[in-house]
Amino acid sequence: MFEEVGTTTEGDLIINMGPQHPATHGVLHLVVTLNGETIKNVEPHLGYIHRSIEKMCESLTYRQFIYVTSRMDYLSAHINNHACAMCVEKGLQLEVPPRAQVIRVLMDELTRLASHELWWGAMAMDLGAFTPFFHAFREREVINDIMEETCGARLTMNYMVPGGVMHDLHPNFQQRVKDFLQLYKRKIHEYDELVTGNIIFQNRMKGVGIISPEDVISYGCTGPVARGSGVSSDVRKLYPYEIYDKLEFDEVLEDGCDSFARYMVRIREMQQSVRIIEQLIDNIPDGEFQAKTKAVLKLPKGEFYSKAETARGELGVYIVSEGGTTPYRIKFRSPGFSNLSALNHLVKGGKIGDLIAAMGTLDLVIPDIDR
């Protein structure tokens, strides 16, 4: 990722983009070396929002640490919590009741939808179109309302607990999700009208930010970034967890390798999420929403790893237990960090506008990168 020091020559313009910049979506600091408008090198500087989450988790019990992970990739809070809960369950060898599994998958997919909605709006805003942002929030707000009703919060829900979920579904849940799907299907064509089909947008996206499948693998990119280059990386398909192996959905693959391919992957993933929700919403099995667990959880001595597909890619949770009530060491493999590392590769030789577009398609959430 880092070029050798001293590659800048006289006449290059070095710009510190961020940590306060409208396009970096938070406190990312990019040192951009420019030759006129052409980008010679981009060097991301991290650490402005480092909160030492991994270290914090070591002093929290297995029930407590899950809530902290909502603050990593706050747009996929559910999925982060889910991955952690799964890892703890693996350690406890706990069977999650079928109802809880279905609820978890439903929540994951709703989160993915909400996250992609926000990405869509923010991406269009990066390219200079303001209106899609508000249109995206119209639909996202409905999901947030559904979340609020069932989980009690809109962004950092802390709904997943080891053994299942914290509450049962709200009685209105099914009806409201169906209403949302109706609304979503009514509005989905507007996305294409406003942004996807727009000639300016297509010209901004097509053929820029190219990354080959080999480079995707060597940079460790996952999620839509990898799938935009045709690299199959969907954890839900490759290493199915919960009930994903029983569901009918496609892994979205595009072989454009450019910004537009990554854009289309996310757009089509939203439709796949809708498909999953439609399959499940009428088939939620009865039963317990939470397995019986002891009041104090103790993981046996050993190492446990679980992973889940967040809206940004593969999130890995690695717990080393010494047998106590708190983990000895926790490591998160966050998707944003690996995806960001490909940024320089994506934009080198492009224009400043390409940098913004490529950064938009990486869908960076800075707290996820810094942790």
Partner: protein, 358 residues
């Protein structure tokens, strides 16, 4: 009776009856200056609130609705806020040029108001090269942006200024060629002649498809020339934070802001004058009854109606489209707009020579 031209004539008569001609002229100049400044301020206020309402409704929001009736005084409150804000000058800036730049932008915008015909027989200065004057003076506005960008001692500003320079210089060409199409049809550069030539129908309808193409090119080019989205690369907040006015604050920023809106008004007024007949009511050939009815609507209403319609179209662009990239922007001009408008000008010339227009 109460038309703008009558009022102007009455004032002129009264002044000439009570004063020596020199003093009358000076007083008239002062009145005109005050009127221009007043119009400048009023336009700024009206256009800002209009922009905010248009953007809000397009974005399924309500928009400003707290200050004054239906939020109509919002921009006045904003202006007051900007007036009392501290105007900062950054440390490494070239202080003189930094402070002069917004005034250059404003003065250029004011100069451009001179030859515009706001109503029948109501025009500050009907000079015989009106259209050329406007395209000439508007080319100075790029200087204010270059000055601001360079003097700020900020890399974002400098990049914004460079972009804006390349953009304005190139789009002036196709805007000029689109204007030339109408000049060729009319055979005069004088604004009043151009309006008079549209008495039996606006050029947009009289001139067949070539004039419609010229109109579309004109609208695109002036959108680019006034640095409005989707061509707002000089500001490009997601790329260059705020481009050439990154370092400006308070009233100096407000002057840039005002000048941008007045420039939008002026180019739309020119567009309305050239293609939609300026203050000329909607006339169809020799349907005298219909034309008579149309004449009942005051000419100033016609002018402002057309101008504000065009302004609305430009705002509509802004809130719909993403921004272009700098090389695409120049591609659009040099590979599409310029060749098309050159070819189009040939066609228009042919139409003018053969007298094929209605």
């Amino acid at each position: 009776m109460w038309s703008l031209s009558n009022i102007a004539a009455n004032i002129d008569q009264w002044l000439n009856a009570n004063m020596s001609p020199t003093w009358a002229l000076i007083v008239e100049m002062v009145i005109a200056g005050v009127a221009v400044i007043g119009l400048f301020a009023a336009l700024g206020l009206v256009l800002v609130i209009m922009e905010r309402k248009v953007s809000a409704w397009i974005q399924i929001r309500l928009g400003p609705n707290r200050v004054g009736p239906k939020g109509m005084l919002q921009s006045l409150a904003d202006t007051l806020k900007l007036l009392v804000k501290e105007g900062m000058t950054p440390g490494g800036a070239d202080k003189l040029l930094f402070n002069v730049a917004p005034f250059v932008a404003m003065i250029v915008a004011m100069l451009l108001l001179a030859p515009i015909a706001f109503a029948k027989d109501f025009q500050l200065w009907d000079l015989n090269i009106g259209v050329l004057y406007i395209s000439a003076v508007s080319s100075i506005s790029v200087i204010s942006i270059l000055m601001a960008g360079w003097a700020s001692n900020n890399k974002y500003s400098l990049l914004g200024a460079m972009r804006s320079g390349a953009q304005i210089v190139s789009y002036e060409l196709s805007a000029g060629l689109a204007v030339l199409a109408i000049v060729v049809l009319t055979g005069s550069l004088r604004i009043s002649d151009i309006i008079q030539a549209q008495e039996n129908g606006w050029w947009l309808f009289k001139g067949h498809i070539p004039v419609i193409i010229a109109f579309i090119i004109f609208i695109i080019a002036v959108t680019a020339e006034t640095n409005r989205a989707p061509f707002d690369l000089a500001e490009a907040e997601s790329e260059l934070t705020a481009g050439f006015h990154t370092e400006y604050s308070g009233m100096k920023f407000a002057l840039f802001f005002l000048a941008e809106y007045v420039n939008v008004f002026i180019v739309c007024a020119i567009g309305a004058t050239l293609f939609l007949g300026g203050w000329m009511p909607f006339h169809i050939g020799n349907w005298h009854a219909f034309n008579g009815v149309m004449d009942w609507i005051p000419s100033s209403v016609w002018f402002f109606g057309k101008t504000f319609f065009l302004i609305f179209v430009i705002m509509w662009f802004r809130w719909t489209f993403p921004r272009l990239r700098i090389d695409q922007l120049l591609n659009l001009e040099w590979k599409y707009l310029l060749p098309i408008s050159m070819f189009n000008l040939l066609l228009v010339t042919l139409i003018a020579i053969m007298g094929w227009h209605f």
